[in-house]
Symmetry: C2
Subunit: 146 residues, 2 copies
DNA sequence: CCAAAACCCCATAGAATAAATAGGATAATC
DNA sequence: GATTATCCTATTTATTCTATGGGGTTTTGG
């Protein structure tokens, strides 16, 4: 399970991705996406620090997308908020931690199994860009109308 | 990330799967797999209640496999200890929970994306049987020797 | 029968993490 | 300079995870 923070972040990005040129107020995103305002504030700040968003303070300010939405993918967002994508700490590159229970990691079939799941998952999440999600949502909506 | 409890359970099952007819003492599994004894006790009890293991009390007793190791897969074990496999509560069948943030779940592209990841993951974990892991470990060990 | 061996079971402590909120500081506009 | 809006730190609250403690029950074997 990813954290709510991460899920909120993705929803916010998708929301903004629908109008990539617009400037958004925290309050508006909060209401549109049903995210607690103060919580969202911290999330947007994280996204800004990560370089995905830019912001402008004061009256007439707000948050805006800094990168192309085709360039931001879910793997990156999940890693930013929740760290490793792998199901076990010994099956990840960037957040690797050894496990005490198996003597030899190289021959541990449990690790091997979860490593394969991880690789497949990362591959899928990398292909899920914000732009892709925006498009997909539009498609799902028109499909439903019929 | 799966819980340590779940990871321990898998390791214990793989250990037992190497000698599927044997009766195992908690203490021996604990030492062989580096799992805190008391913690393991609770885990084995859970596995017993789930029908995967049997046990015999008293002197000469112990835990033993009740089902064919080719029949026990990681999806089942993970679900037993950690619940849903999906990364978001709205993308799971058995542990489904709606999310407040999206008005229409059917057209939510975030859910759609994680649903696909879930399906792929479940498929992979279902193919990872305890017997399969035991075999794999043997293979990895001989490969390393060379 | 009884003592040792081994699982059974409940309860809880301790730590870490997640989720949310509080309260003010800073910046920009009009 | 009042208003709007982001920026920042800290704290609270709740929950879950991990681990352990301390008996209770069953079975065997002498």
């Amino acid at each position: 399970m990813i954290s709510k923070k991460c899920k909120y972040a993705i929803h916010a990005l998708v929301h903004m991705g629908k109008n990539p040129e617009e400037k958004f107020l925290i309050k508006d995103i909060s209401e549109a996406c049903n995210i607690p305002k103060k919580f969202l504030e911290a999330i947007l700040l994280d996204l800004k620090r990560a370089g995905m968003l830019g912001s402008k303070q004061g009256k007439g300010g707000g948050y805006f997308l800094r990168r192309d939405t085709e360039d931001i993918n879910l793997a990156e967002v999940v890693r930013l908020f929740d760290g490793a994508i792998a199901a076990v700490p010994c099956a990840t590159h960037k957040f690797y931690e050894p496990c005490q229970e198996c003597e030899d990691e190289e021959t541990c079939s449990v690790r091997d199994a979860f490593l394969q799941v991880r690789n497949a998952t990362v591959e899928m999440l990398k292909n899920d860009t914000i732009a892709g999600l925006v498009k997909k949502e539009a498609k799902l909506k028109t499909r439903k109308k019929r």
